[in-house]
Assembly symmetry: C3
Amino acid sequence: MPLDRAEAASQEVRGDGGPSSGVTGEALHAHCRALYAVCRSITGPGLRATLAYVAERLPLAVREVPSGTPALDWAVPREWTPRSAWIRSLDGETVVDFARHSLHLLQYSKAVDRVVSNEELQRHLHSLPEQPDLIPYRTAYYSDTWGFCLPHRLRESLTDAAYRVRIDADLAPGALSYGECVLPGESADEVLISVHCCHPSLANDNLSGLSLALELARALEGRKRRLTWRFLFIPGTIGSVAWLAANRDGAVGRIRHGLVLSCLGDGGAFHYKASRRGNASIDRIAAHVLRHEGAGNQLLPFIPYGYDERQYCSPGFDLPVGCLMRSPNGTFPEYHTSADDLDFVRPEHLARSYAALERIADVIEGDALLRSTAPYGEPQLGRRGLYAAIGGTGPGETGRGFDQMTLLWVLNLADGRHTLLDMAERAGQPFAAVRAAADAAIAAGLLVPA
Amino acid sequence: MPLDRAEAASQEVRGDGGPSSGVTGEALHAHCRALYAVCRSITGPGLRATLAYVAERLPLAVREVPSGTPALDWAVPREWTPRSAWIRSLDGETVVDFARHSLHLLQYSKAVDRVVSNEELQRHLHSLPEQPDLIPYRTAYYSDTWGFCLPHRLRESLTDAAYRVRIDADLAPGALSYGECVLPGESADEVLISVHCCHPSLANDNLSGLSLALELARALEGRKRRLTWRFLFIPGTIGSVAWLAANRDGAVGRIRHGLVLSCLGDGGAFHYKASRRGNASIDRIAAHVLRHEGAGNQLLPFIPYGYDERQYCSPGFDLPVGCLMRSPNGTFPEYHTSADDLDFVRPEHLARSYAALERIADVIEGDALLRSTAPYGEPQLGRRGLYAAIGGTGPGETGRGFDQMTLLWVLNLADGRHTLLDMAERAGQPFAAVRAAADAAIAAGLLVPA
Amino acid sequence: MPLDRAEAASQEVRGDGGPSSGVTGEALHAHCRALYAVCRSITGPGLRATLAYVAERLPLAVREVPSGTPALDWAVPREWTPRSAWIRSLDGETVVDFARHSLHLLQYSKAVDRVVSNEELQRHLHSLPEQPDLIPYRTAYYSDTWGFCLPHRLRESLTDAAYRVRIDADLAPGALSYGECVLPGESADEVLISVHCCHPSLANDNLSGLSLALELARALEGRKRRLTWRFLFIPGTIGSVAWLAANRDGAVGRIRHGLVLSCLGDGGAFHYKASRRGNASIDRIAAHVLRHEGAGNQLLPFIPYGYDERQYCSPGFDLPVGCLMRSPNGTFPEYHTSADDLDFVRPEHLARSYAALERIADVIEGDALLRSTAPYGEPQLGRRGLYAAIGGTGPGETGRGFDQMTLLWVLNLADGRHTLLDMAERAGQPFAAVRAAADAAIAAGLLVPA
């Protein structure tokens, strides 16, 4: 829905204002490339650098929550600052080096600097016997330990009796960082878009989600918006917990629709995981868009495992927040390994994901409850130029972006109880066609806000 | 359900009074034959002649609504009186003649009398390239134009440079005619049966519907009726719009069940198109009867295209009116062509349609809400002669038109919340069997009105 | 769930107290063997002997309701005391003898002692032409007649012109006997277990049900019970009618769950026939247990034919009572014949049925409505020892009888609106796993009664 089509006078009713297209897969992939090598974690300099990248492109407020701050059932952890980490043979050969890949270091490892026996070392190594060439991603946020992640094949070659291990890292009071971009709309009702930014060098999980959120925010930024859009760039779990704690009596209560974005750069079918409610508006919107977005897309019921929807959908909040993905977490072999890289995430997949996200945003912004001004009998469409001159052949195309039948559906269901999305579902038509038919009927004076 | 079975004393409870059978397919087909050649339209002499035929057989009130009368969003159009119409070659050969087939003339063509170039003539011709031997049915009710409909093969033979065209027709202030037959019942609650009578020489669409409505009204006429039955013989769209406008504050509010009848003379499976509500009583009744009426019958959801149910089911009225058909409009090759003729419509198809319609009427008239007089535990059926003397073999037949199990269902569900139709659905039995079991239980004092 | 795990302090919340296992198939089959030969009926000495057997093993109150006592729509019949019965040829050969098999005598036959013609005799014989070697079970409780049941092959050999027939039986004022065992619980809310004990030598129908009820009552007897359990050992139909009549203003109103047990000793799949309500708690509990009890089990909708659920589910009572069976009545060839014997009913089938019954009882006793103490965001499980130290691999086993995912489900759904059974259904886990996860969360202070 191009921006220039909007006219102020009928803006509210006509539902103009969907995000402009023109975002390319290449632009989305460029964000992934720019941020891939950074060693992010749930706190620390890598996360801060990532937020700085976003802040250069969006009006982003970066929040810093001090370590120890209570947050719901949690407390903000100490800040982790890894500097260097390696395993060397006693004759000085470096066999594992954090400088080469940020996944090599177990997240939240404490400092260590000593010679360890092979046996002790093994207890601190993480590898994947069934994917022997890949480095796994592992975390120990709330454990007092250290460790390295490495390809299993490399691990098997570590046969010396002892190795020198060094991790130069601080785990000290500091702050949890997250970024927040609020784009006010005509209404204080909010749409929440949440992406986790805590994973180190993993491209699909979740630089893909970050890229899409960034570009959607930019597209919405320059436009008239019906609703207020809030974008959160946060570390997983503790980030959403901290945001929920801080906004419990404020923004949380204004959220009408929410989406967690993750794993949107691979070539799998779309998967939408419903909110805990299961029948929230966002659940119906995502289902509608995915149905018209091609075959094979899947709707998944809510489960209490996954991304930050776990926090938004905890029973005390129970927010209408779902999760949009291509291949879901844990279902693709590259998941949480070094194979989730810049080759796995492809521009064309990112572009297709963005298009679906944009359509979801179009429905969120464009849905409306309208009422027919001529509800008794059908309105006479012929004298309004909305009906074929010659009868007897059935309803056909109109050449206006909707067919005759869609217009009849819109008029028949415009009883103040069916939204445009309801109509699209009932008519089996994409939302855009129903919106176009409704706009034609509004222009003809046949529909008004309910 | 034969008339002579009714007894006044238990009439109300026992649900007697279904329409008598005995209507033959031949009688139904005879009505089609008598009316086939008439050139009907939404106004004019052909429509009036058709209503006169019905009025000879039923107590029919014929209404005349003057041209220009406002009717909801519409106004009654001018009256169209076609007298003759032809296309002749310049050497006097008649190539198309309205006198030969009423479909030849585009409905609501204005008068014309001149020589036209082949090129101009072509813009006024309607034919079917894929069915080259058939004349299509086309209308131009609200356009200022003229035209002819003809077989495509004939059209292709019109190669002269010019032709003489003459249409002798009036399009002038007059009236819209429709017929209304009301058969009062014990209750002011109404059943609406609506058939469109505006199509010229098309037998299935809708002389079939007209014939069935006529015979059902005759069958109901001489009987005690629980409900008031109203039969409308109307021109499509503008006829129902005019009737709704005139009865908006009266009969409209009393309609409890309604059926549009159309295309009931072909050999296709039954199709019942639900009311806009989708769960109205008539929707359940029609679904029940069609389920027991043989395999292959189809329930269709409401769509805002079709016959006069479009008007009855417009959002302001939202009446419980469905549409009963064999092959639905637009789905059979003869539809809206000269092949929809007296051979296409067959006596045996009309008879079978009438039987189904009669069963629907039986349920409408015979459904009831009854209450058990012995709801605590099962009543002891043995001492009432309603249970087999020897036990141990399970429930069986009773030889009374219902099996033992059906009687047990009726007694178990007679809690004042389940209608007889509910019971028939739950028991998986035809309504007639449940009605018979209920009548036996009423006779035994085990059921009373709820 | 072993008894010694229960601790008084957290008993109520933790749902301890399911029936102890250890009941063997052999013990269950022994009850069938002990009672098989007895000629039971809906009244009389055989029924009384059967109740005496149960009373030796349970605190059973045996009720005697005098003949003629009104009971709902019925009256208690006269008591039937059969002593001997035979058919002899005129030369003294006994061809049918009640002493050989209790099924030979038509139930409630009146006394007779005379020579009858073959023709008259035939009118009093019952046999199965399609199962010519089996004796059928037939009754004539409320008819004034006499009769014999015999193998069809034997019947065909009766070619003499006349036979001597003698039935020595009383049909006289007496009493209807039934047994009632009430095990009080913390709550006055009741669970009803009902078994019919009126069939003569039929093992599956229903010595199997009697054995299971007897053992379940014994298992529950020595335990702390959340609910009050009531076991009825009754003659079919008139027994439940009499009990309902006597308890109409008392126990009937306290029944929260009920099960009729029958045909539980054969090797067929489990069949659970739902209560009339169809969505009662017991219906969901039985469906849940059968779903996890192996493949092929079937849920049947309520029908108003079968066992005493017909009375409990009559419209005036409409109690939440279903019926648990292996092969349903009327669906197996041995049904109501002499082939329903001690070989047909097998210890391993009885044991498996008992295990399923016990699981149903576990859910009834162990279900609870709990509320999370940390509903805002997820509780931090790691510091409570309920989460793996190393992250990144997804939820796994805990080694505590439930997996990590089940615990997440329990915490997510503990909003005071979902029972543990609701959680088990949503999580796709057996109730026992959900109960174990809930117990762990209770122990960690994360759940309290809602």
